[in-house]
């Protein structure tokens, strides 16, 4: 089965305003194996864009390329019209612009409050840390549960709460783009619901790039969907169009059987 990636041009609507994140022809190769090939991606100024696909498709790798945790890629990626590889201030400044939430919540061995403000730099911003922390915790839907115990250890929180804490921590440095790598995969249904709700609200202001295994979640969160398999983007479309009328055979196969044979 031929796997020439057909780039479906998404229908022209007001929703897409390219210029926020633009990925052109991204390649990533590691130890002789091609991880990402020919990746083209556009993110709108706000809203949720999901990346779905089977394991090993390269979804997480793509996220790590964007915030330069992975550095040996070739291609052209711009965020707000600035090239990622020549970001003023280097990688550290870039990463303060982009938040990344990992699948497994990883809190630092300190209090809840200190976790939230961990990334805040600069003396003058540290003075307003209290306000920033409260704001971030509210947006992450965690404020009510922890406002009485900000100084208690973060490790005492439940897994779902820890994940929301990680989201708050990322939000505290006010990123212009938030990337999430299967954020609810290891959580209970209630935490999943809380986080999805929080994400939908966040997406009203900044673009979110979400990797998920959960097809129902991708449908619920709406926005745009990119289907990846084997390092390539197979199909991309507005979510409800993608899920109801998939164009490619591989997409149909994946939606049906949750696996795809792209070779």
């Amino acid at each position: 089965m031929s796997t020439e990636a057909i780039h479906l041009h998404p229908p022209q609507t007001d929703e897409i305003a390219p210029g926020t994140l633009t990925v052109r022809d991204l390649h990533l190769q590691k130890e002789g194996k091609v991880i990402l090939h020919n990746i083209d991606l556009n993110l709108p100024a706000s809203g949720i864009t999901t990346l779905i696909g089977p394991s090993g498709a390269g979804k997480s790798s793509l996220l790590r390329c964007i915030n330069q945790l992975e550095k040996n890629w070739q291609g052209d990626v711009t965020l707000h019209h600035k090239n990622l590889c020549h970001w003023p201030g280097g990688d550290e400044q870039l990463r303060r612009h982009i938040g990344l939430i990992a699948q497994k919540p990883c809190v630092f061995p300190t209090s809840i409050f200190r976790n939230v403000v961990f990334g805040i730099q600069g003396f003058w911003r540290r003075r307003h840390a209290q306000h920033i922390a409260e704001h971030a915790l509210r947006k992450a839907a965690l404020w009510d549960e922890v406002k009485e115990r900000l100084d208690s250890p973060a490790s005492a929180l439940s897994l779902g709460q820890q994940q929301r804490l990680c989201i708050a921590r990322a939000l505290a440095i006010q990123p212009r783009l938030l990337m999430l790598d299967e954020p609810t995969a290891s959580l209970d249904p209630r935490s999943k619901q809380l986080i999805e709700h929080a994400l939908l609200e966040l997406a009203e202001n900044i673009p979110l790039l979400l990797v998920t295994h959960d097809l129902q979640q991708a449908q619920r969160l709406g926005g745009h969907t990119n289907f990846m398999c084997d390092g390539k983007i197979i199909e991309k479309n507005i979510s409800h169009v993608f899920f109801t009328q998939p164009q490619r055979v591989e997409s149909k196969e994946f939606l049906r059987w949750s696996s795809c044979d792209c070779n």
Partner: protein, 278 residues
């Protein structure tokens, strides 16, 4: 049969601790009988006149060890960070090997190096009457402590999880911030233990110190002038072990120095026992 062996062995271990304390107490009892506890704060050590002050060696031991650890800790941790972070992976194991070899060099060889390299060096560079000073001893002790601190600190730093590190990177922290806010705080328990271990060893170090400290049983004048010869517990015991007449008061005083040294070492190690059990 098995039980007998196991029980006996364990009892022997436990007994040896008691035996040592008991015998030292027994052997030093004459001086307690003769002078009470006064000799602990007595400043003079002049066996021929029955003056058995512990103060000079107390000051000498504490000062030399204190300076040694104050020097070795930052340098050792810096070296550990250096090996972990700054040099390429290929060179890391070689450096580690070098350090482990250094940690195994017998102290008498360090004493030789100290006596024939360090002492003349200090004499010429600092224009001293004699290069055998408390500072020389402290320097030598620092050199001996460096490999231990470096190796154990490196182990502690390596144990900090990659995840923690990566989460800090994701937030945009630069290298120095990662070191100060993630690596060092989380490796601190291990580094603390390493320091205590090095401290204990430095306190108990005998031959190397004996050769370079000058062996003058006087508190230096002023007490913080490290560039004068002085004396430590270990050096005194080492030097006079062969000279003290058995069962004399001198002998008992020597034993009491040993007892005091042992007590101090046990006190130094006690916190680590407490930490280990947490």
């Amino acid at each position: 049969m098995l039980r007998l062996w196991l029980n006996t062995a364990t009892l022997l271990c436990a007994a040896s601790l008691l035996l040592i304390v008991t015998f030292l107490l027994y052997a030093s009892s004459p001086i307690f009988a003769a002078q009470g506890l006064n000799f602990v704060v007595e400043q003079e050590w002049y066996p021929y006149e029955a003056l058995f002050g512990l103060l000079p060696v107390l000051v000498g031991s504490l000062l030399s060890v204190g300076v040694a650890i104050a020097l070795a800790l930052p340098l050792g941790v810096a070296a550990a960070l250096f090996n972990l972070e700054i040099i390429p992976k290929a060179a890391q194991s070689w450096l580690r090997l070098l350090m482990e070899l250094m940690a195994g060099i017998p102290s008498v060889v360090y004493g030789l190096l100290g006596l024939w390299l360090l002492v003349p060096l200090l004499e010429s560079q600092l224009n001293l009457l004699t290069g055998r000073t408390l500072f020389t001893a402290a320097l030598l002790l620092a050199i001996m402590a460096l490999p231990t601190i470096m190796v154990l600190s490196e182990d502690a730093l390596r144990r900090v999880s990659r995840e923690q590190r990566e989460n800090a990177v994701t937030l945009g922290l630069n290298w120095w911030q990662q070191v100060c806010r993630i690596l060092l705080p989380q490796a601190w328990p291990g580094i603390r233990l390493a320091t205590l271990l090095a401290l204990g060893r430095a306190l108990g170090e005998t031959v190397a110190v004996m050769l370079v400290v000058g062996s003058i049983d006087r508190i230096p004048e002023p007490f913080y002038n490290l560039l004068l010869p002085a004396q430590t517990f270990t050096s005194r015991i080492g030097r006079e072990m062969g000279e003290a007449e058995i069962d004399s008061l001198h002998w008992a005083a020597l034993m009491s120095s040993g007892l005091a040294l042992m007590l101090i070492s046990l006190i130094v190690v006690a916190p680590s026992l407490f930490w280990r059990s947490k």
